[in-house]
């Protein structure tokens, strides 16, 4: 299938009082039509910044996209004028944010906010747009839509607001939906509802989904391919089953082993990853995970490993083969 989005060498930095923060350091990936791509990493690993850079939602300054391109429909999103990118955002690529409490304007009715993209991108009148918004809200499972269109965000619960965010994101039937930890603020039963909803809509509308999360559990049942980010680098990329069964990077292995599993029998002590993620103030000259890594060898301290292919779809950025503990040939 064709590549819908092709991101190459994306690098984003932020100017702070302490110096430049190297948030994203040369991230490259492709997204195919209709595919669901999971992006996993801990806070500060650059997963949100990557996506916000692509949609040019990074506040500049202090942020700055240093390098890279993001080709969507033959055009580079990073080189577009503000006017051009505005026609992409919300229409062809849309985003659902983590916090449904703060992502709505509190003084505008829900109906108008959900309908707004249609007025802007498709030139519908307010009445037509509102009608369509009502249909969309039904589709995401909001009861009593006619009344609720005229209510304000505070009158909705967190789960309902997240549904509404999804309705707003999908109202122009985009080709790509970027979901940035959309269920982190929600309870587990509500999270299951939202995950099912996005899966259903994805299959019905045939769109591609990029699902950003720190929860390896959600990704397992959702994505076809997974990228693992650490310190602004992609450190592993693999199809979902391959990743969970044969993770190669010590960090991915560490993450998987640090999770307790609900379906396991008996007890085993969790394997924790020692230390903390690095502060990204310097240019990276060694493997950023080396200080926390139990497999590290001399080479790791001198050179940052680049992503390399170890089987057709499986790429990993590590000098060491965890099976042998020795350097890869």
């Amino acid at each position: 299938m064709a590549d819908l989005l092709n991101v190459q060498g994306l690098a984003t930095q932020f100017q702070t009082r302490e110096g430049m923060i190297h948030a994203v350091n040369g991230v490259s990936f492709k997204l195919k039509e209709g595919e669901t791509l999971g992006i996993v990493g801990e806070s500060g690993c650059g997963k949100s910044v990557t996506m916000m850079s692509i949609l040019r939602l990074i506040p500049m300054p202090p942020g700055k996209i240093m390098a890279g391109q993001a080709i969507f429909q033959g055009k580079d999103l990073l080189m577009m004028s503000n006017d051009e990118i505005r026609h992409i955002r919300g229409a062809q690529i849309s985003m659902v944010f983590q916090d449904p409490m703060t992502s709505f304007n509190p003084v505008i009715t829900i109906g108008r906010q959900v309908a707004e993209p249609l007025e802007i991108h498709n030139g519908l009148t307010r009445k037509q747009a509102l009608e369509r918004a009502g249909e969309m809200m039904k589709m995401v499972g909001i009861p009593n839509v006619e009344e609720r269109l005229n209510e304000y965000p505070h009158q909705f619960s967190g789960g309902m607001r997240q549904r509404m965010m999804i309705a707003m994101a999908l109202i122009c039937t985009p080709q790509i939906l970027i979901a940035d930890e959309p269920t982190t603020a929600l309870d587990v039963t509500i999270q299951a509802q939202i995950v099912e909803l996005v899966k259903r809509l994805r299959d019905e509308l045939g769109m591609a989904v990029i699902w950003i999360t720190h929860d390896l559990g959600i990704i397992a049942g959702m994505a076809q391919r997974v990228l693992v980010l650490y310190a602004g680098f992609i450190i592993e990329e693999a199809p979902v089953k391959e990743l969970y069964a044969h993770a190669q990077h010590p960090y991915t292995l560490g993450l998987l082993n640090s999770l307790p599993r609900m379906d396991e029998m008996g007890y085993h002590r969790l394997t924790s990853i020692n230390g903390m993620p690095p502060v990204l103030l310097r240019d990276v000259t060694s493997c950023p995970f080396a200080p926390r890594c139990t497999y590290k060898i001399e080479h790791c301290l001198h050179e940052n490993p680049l992503l390399r292919t170890i089987s057709p779809d499986h790429h990993v950025a590590c000098w060491v083969d965890p099976a042998t503990g020795k350097e890869r040939a």
């Binding site: 299951a192 995950v195 099912e196 559990g217 049942g221 969790l270």
Partner: protein, 327 residues
């Protein structure tokens, strides 16, 4: 000491928060039924997990047990003392034996105090040590929780979330308590750091024979750390039993749906899974449903469920459920 011996007994505990209207003359116009008649015991040396979704009253239960909130009615027995009846000075002494670790490691440490002062303060407050002794004890405690004792002069903002949570643990340990109420101690932390803190809690439990009441919403972590688990929904405990029993044989329909909603980090297992997705949302605790609290979302609710509140009864040895439909 038998493992069955109860350290803490909670007896028909109720906590309502009044809702008032008016500025000068406040009239009560309703109440949030945060905790509505829960009874359970915490046994010596065990970890009792208390799980539920936000707003189900699990944190309020924890705080009411420690008398940080005074209960509306009911009793909390610690060994043989009824904490509800105890006077403030005596209660202060009792508090040494019961400590708490809070959810938010950013908000629960005073930013103007050094870590050494934070960990040492309880010792001075309870006149258990001189300043010099306290300093020595602080160094010991920091070492115990995996922090460099030289950090005692630093302020909380110089630490990461995981390290701060270790400071919170050190503070709780300074009193050599028997019981620690852990109120979502890891939910603000990153995955790789969560495991560090959980392992620390487990090690300390073994070393000092601590008893934990572990409040959390992460069902996989609760399964990992607990010996028994209580599931809360809208102010009541719907099910309470041993860890393995609860996860392999959940009887209450809410527990069943809750377990089915938890994602498993394994794509192969996820594919095979039959999910039961709960419809709707948790009702308001201001005006909870009559009869069984769960009936509005329950897939098997019958007529009796709206009329009679189900008893919390022992349906199998050490397996308690509050549901009419469970025989």
């Amino acid at each position: 000491m038998s493992p069955q011996e109860a350290l803490l007994k909670v007896d028909h505990l109720v906590k309502y928060f009044p809702i008032t209207r008016g500025i000068v003359f406040q009239r009560q116009i309703g109440a949030v039924h945060a905790v509505d008649d829960v009874s359970f015991e915490v046994r010596k040396g065990e970890t009792l997990g208390l799980v539920g979704e936000s707003g189900c009253g699990k944190s309020t239960t924890g705080r009411t047990i420690l008398q940080l909130y005074r209960p509306t009615s009911g009793h909390v027995y610690y060994e043989d003392h009824d904490l509800v009846k105890i006077k403030s000075e005596e209660l202060r002494k009792m508090r040494r034996k019961m400590q708490m670790i809070f959810q938010d490691p950013y908000a629960s440490l005073n930013p103007r105090m050094t870590v050494g002062e934070i960990v040492g303060e309880p010792l001075l407050v309870h006149h258990l040590a001189s300043h010099k002794q306290a300093d020595e004890r602080v160094a010991e405690l920091l070492k115990l929780v995996g922090l460099n004792p030289a950090y005692a002069d630093r302020y909380p903002h110089e630490f990461s979330g995981g390290q701060r949570q270790r400071v919170g643990v050190a503070r709780a340990l300074s009193m050599q308590p028997d019981l620690i109420v852990c109120d979502e101690p890891i939910s603000a932390l990153d995955v790789s750091i969560q495991a560090q803190v959980v392992n620390l809690l487990e090690d300390l439990q073994k070393q000092f024979n601590l008893t934990y009441l572990f409040i959390a919403h992460d069902l996989s972590m609760v399964r990992h750390i607990s010996s028994r688990v209580a599931v809360m929904y809208l102010g009541i405990i719907v099910e309470l039993t041993g860890r393995n029993e609860l996860y392999s044989n959940p009887l209450h329909p809410y527990t069943q749906s809750l377990l089915s909603a938890v994602p498993i980090p394994d794509p192969v297992a996820e594919e095979k899974r039959q999910r039961r997705i709960l419809q709707g949302e948790i009702p308001s605790p201001i005006n909870p449903p009559s009869g069984c609290r769960f009936r509005t979302r329950c897939p098997i609710a019958a007529e009796i469920c709206s009329k009679v509140r189900p008893d919390f009864r022992e349906v199998a040895p050490d397996h308690f459920v509050a549901c009419h439909m469970v025989v």
